[in-house]
Structures are given as C-alpha cells and as structure tokens.
C-alpha cells in the first residue's frame, strides 16, 4: 500500500477513535453548535498560522482553546444565551479569518486544504499531532468520565453531589477545541463537526449504556474512514467528504437495527 494511504488511514483512524467518545458527549450535552463554532474558529487559527508562518495545527489549537475559554466565561455569566455567544464567537472568528487571509494576499492553497481537508496529504508531523493530542484527550475523558456523565445528566444535581462542575465543563470545552484543531486536516473545517456528531448519533441505536455508545461511535467512525478512503480511491471522490458520506450511510443503515434501551411504556 502506498505510504500516503497508510498515513491517511492512521490519521483517519486516530481522529475517529477520539471523535467518537468526545462526540457522544457533544451529542448528549447538545453542543453541536459549539463544535461548529470551534470549527469556524479553527479556520482563524489556520489563517493566522499560515500568515505568521507558524505551524497551522498549533495555531489552530491555541485559537480554539482561547475561543473555548471566552465561550466558557461568557456562558458562566448567563446574561447572554449560549447560542448567541457561540454565534458571535464563530462568525466573528470566521470573518476575522477571511480578513486576515485577504490581507495576506488572497486565499492560498494551504488555507483551502484546511477548509476542505486533505487527508491524502497528511504528513508524519500531522500524524504525531493527531495521535498525541488524541491520546491526551482520551486519557482526560477516561479520568473525567464519571463527573462528566453526572453533570451531563443533571448539572445542578452533580454540583450538589460535589462534582466540580465548572472545572469539568471548561476542561471538556478545551478537549473539544483540541480534537477539532487536531483533526482539521482530515475532513476539513467545513465537515469537522460531522466526525463528532454522525458516528455518535449512529451509535445511539446500538447502545444501551453510555460506555457502549462511546465505543460504538469510535468503531463506526473507523469504519467510515476505511469506507470513505476506499471510495475515494475507487471512484476518485474527495476523501474527506467521502468519509463523512460513509458515516451518514452508517447512520441511515442504523435505522434498520432495533433501538436499544427504549421500550415503550
């Protein structure tokens, strides 16, 4: 197998394995719009990374983390609705990204690659970013699993039961920011949220516990990566969108399976 394909597979699998469990919490906590905001923000990171000549992934990660912190601070204030905060942050960052790109002399190829993803052009350095960040986020998720689940079910009940709600919430936002930035190259900023949401949504029907759903989401994500890359080679389809479409097909196919843990009363 060609080396670029092996790298593409490793990158895709790395993203899917982390995006599955993290995506479950994004779905459970109704944070899809936050994921989208992070994707927009990541593009500002890309633009700054390219223009300033620093690494694109670390730049995206820093900008995303900063935006996540801003969202957390504004959200804790409770005076502005969360979706308004996310709208302002997401589109403010995107607009700024476009201005930065224009000021630097027009849309460059690198920026396009991060907008649409270019999994077949993943470098060894990209792979290291994906796997190191992925491992860190998975470890964090394992440690925080119980408190995170508790505050997902009922945040005030969790607070009364001595879960450090504010801290856990911020750490999770940062984890989403890191996953988003690290997986930019695989599916691109436009489609990145799909890797968080679609495998998790598809996994719901197959799962009767939160843990099973996380594992299924990771597994379905990996299947989508293999299927998408195969389709990309066989039919010369763009790889990122092919992966997302494969995930969508898995989601649709999931409806054939009987839903677990939902007996009618």
């Amino acid at each position: 197998m060609a080396e670029f394909l092996i790298r593409a597979l490793l990158a895709g699998v790395g993203v899917a394995v982390v995006a599955g469990p993290v995506g479950c919490f994004v779905v459970w906590r109704r944070m899809v719009f936050f994921g989208a905001a992070m994707a927009h923000t990541a593009l500002l990171g890309v633009a700054l990374g390219v223009v300033l000549g620093i690494g694109v992934t670390p730049a995206a990660m820093l900008v995303c983390a900063a935006a996540a912190a801003v969202v957390a601070i504004l959200s804790a204030d409770r005076r502005i609705p969360d979706d308004s905060i996310l709208g302002v942050v997401a589109h403010g960052a995107l607009a700024l990204a476009l201005v930065v790109i224009a000021a630097s002399g027009g849309l460059r190829f690198e920026v396009l690659a991060f907008l649409f993803g270019d999994i077949l052009a993943v470098t060894t350095a990209d792979l290291i970013w994906i796997w190191v960040c992925g491992a860190a986020v998975l470890a964090l998720l394992a440690v925080l699993w119980r408190p995170l689940l508790a505050l997902t079910i009922h945040d005030e009940l969790a607070a009364v039961e001595d879960v450090p709600v504010a801290a856990v919430r911020v750490i999770f936002l940062l984890a989403v920011a890191v996953v988003t930035a690290a997986s930019l190259k695989v599916v691109g900023g436009l489609l990145i949220v799909s890797m968080l949401i679609i495998p998790a949504a598809a996994a719901r029907r197959l799962s009767s516990t939160p843990e099973a759903m996380a594992v299924w989401a990771a597994f379905l994500g990996v299947i989508a990566v293999f299927a998408g890359l195969t389709a990309s080679i066989v039919w010369d389809a763009p790889a990122g969108p092919a992966i997302v479409l494969a995930a969508v097909l898995l989601f649709v196919a999931g409806f054939a399976a009987p839903q677990r843990l939902s007996r009618p009363r």
Binding site: V27, W28, R30, R146, L149, A150, T152, I153, H154, E156, L157, A159, V160, E161, A201, R204, S207, S208, T209, P210, A212, M213, R260, L261, S262, R263, P264, R265
Partner: protein, 266 residues
C-alpha cells in the same frame, strides 16, 4: 423557635441562610431571608408563585450566590437533592440502575433494595428517559437513599404526579426521612399534604412572612391571603404527623394506603 435562636447552636445546624438577599435583573428575588435547619428537622417552604422558593433552595444548596448575606452548610454535609426539573435526553442511553450507580458507590444488591424500598422494584433495567413523573421521583428518592444524606432537599417533589400518587409520594418521603433520620427541606405549593409531614413551615414571599408550626402558620391571615385558601378547606386535612412517625424506621410498601378523607389511623 426563631431562626436566630436555632442559629445559636450553630454546631448542630445543617444549613442556614443569614440575611440572604438575591437581586436578579434589578429585582429583589429574596430579601433578607433568615432560615436554619437542624438535624432531623422537617421544614417546608410554602409561598405563591414567584415567591423565591426555588431560589432560596438553590442558595441553601450553594447553586446560587446571594447578592448579600451568606448561606452556611455544615462541613461535610451530605445532601440528597430532588430538583424540580429533570430534563432527560433520549440521546443518552442510561438505565435506572446505572443512574443509581453513578451517584453512589453502592453495590448492585443495595441498589435493587433501594428501588424496592421506594416501590420501584421493577424499574432497574428501564431507560431513565422513559419513566413517568411519579416513577422518576421514586428513582430520585432511591438515589437519595443510597447516598445516606444528612439533609434531603426536595423542590416540588410531587409536581407532575397524579393526585393519588402525590399522597403516596409524600408518605414515602416521610418514611425515608424517618429511616435516614435526616433533615428535610421541601418546597411545596400544597398546604394540604405539607401539614401532614412537617415540623415547621416557612411562608415565603421574597421575605419570610411568617414561620412556625404547621397549625399556627395555617391560621396566619397573611398565609391565607397569599395562598388564597379558606379555613374549612385546610381543616379537612389534619396534621397526621403521628401517623408518619408511628412507622418509625420500618419500611412499608407503598400499597399501604389510607386516604386523608378517612382521617389518620393510629
């Protein structure tokens, strides 16, 4: 006993509010509220809609920071909390048993036993988001039981439960409080049932308008005016506190059913 007098024995107090004022959007939601709950004491907060009852509970729980004044909780206090709202998401696959396991470290056998105690024996494998209002309250009570709290905090615990189920739930809460020997703070609209299972009633309308034994509060003109109740209406339901304590500690299945219209039995 006044709140101040109770605060005198501070070592014993479970939770207390001292001069708590909460201002939200320029409006005083709570105004200089003093309140204290001692071990094993059962306190019910009544008051009209918008009186700040839930806000006061949330201040006591540490979920809302008062604009002025303080909320004090005994260090290491274990609280069992039944929130008023419990939105459940079908996207999260969670069984009742798993939910119980998440709040405590109780063994499976103990969890099943707690469900039996609250009359929800068959629910262990059910999806949490598929429970009825009454079933969910029972499960939340089972979870509170497992945590062996010093204080049970209940916000409108029978909301969304049909009338006959409401009485069963109030009885269950009384039995659990007996068994755990814990303090109880409850918010309720419902004077009728409150009379049966409470030591002290606080009538709240942003400030504490009166407090005392259920009988004395019931007869307070301000309470009647606020809640729009008439004396005969209240008199139907006598204070059957003795009934609740008569079962001390022993858990009786919820089928034990004496309607209030029959009057309290020994």
């Amino acid at each position: 006993m006044s709140a101040e007098a109770r605060l005198g024995g501070i070592g014993q107090t479970l939770v207390a509010a001292r001069g708590v004022t909460v201002v939200r959007d320029g409006k005083r939601v709570l105004d200089q509220v003093d309140l204290a709950i001692g071990p094993g004491e059962r306190l019910t907060i009544i008051g009209p809609n918008g009186a700040g009852k839930t806000t006061l509970l949330r201040v006591l729980l540490g979920l809302v920071r008062p604009s002025s004044g303080t909320a004090i909780r005994r260090p290491g206090l274990r609280i069992g909390y039944l929130p008023q709202e419990f939105p459940l998401d079908p996207a999260l696959p969670l069984t009742v048993d798993r939910f119980l396991a998440l709040g405590t470290r109780a063994a499976g056998e103990r969890r099943q036993q707690s469900l039996v105690e609250v009359g929800a024996a068959g629910l262990a494998g059910r999806a949490l988001d598929r429970l009825s209002g009454g079933e969910l309250r029972r499960v939340l009570l089972a979870r509170a039981l497992l945590r062996e709290p010093d204080l049970l905090v209940l916000d409108e615990p029978v909301q969304g439960v049909d009338l006959s189920g409401q009485l069963d739930l109030y009885r269950l809460i009384g039995r659990i409080a007996d068994e755990l020997r814990c303090g109880v703070v409850m918010v309720s609209h419902d004077l009728h049932f409150v009379m049966a299972a409470t030591d002290r009633v606080v009538c709240l309308n942003r400030h504490v308008c009166c407090e005392g034994q259920p009988e004395s509060v019931r007869d307070h003109p301000e309470v009647r005016a606020l809640l729009g109740v008439s004396a005969p209406d209240l008199a139907v339901y006598t204070h059957d506190h003795d009934h609740v304590h008569g079962l001390s500690g022993r858990i009786v299945p919820p089928e034990d059913d004496t309607r209030p219209s029959h009057g309290p039995h020994g």
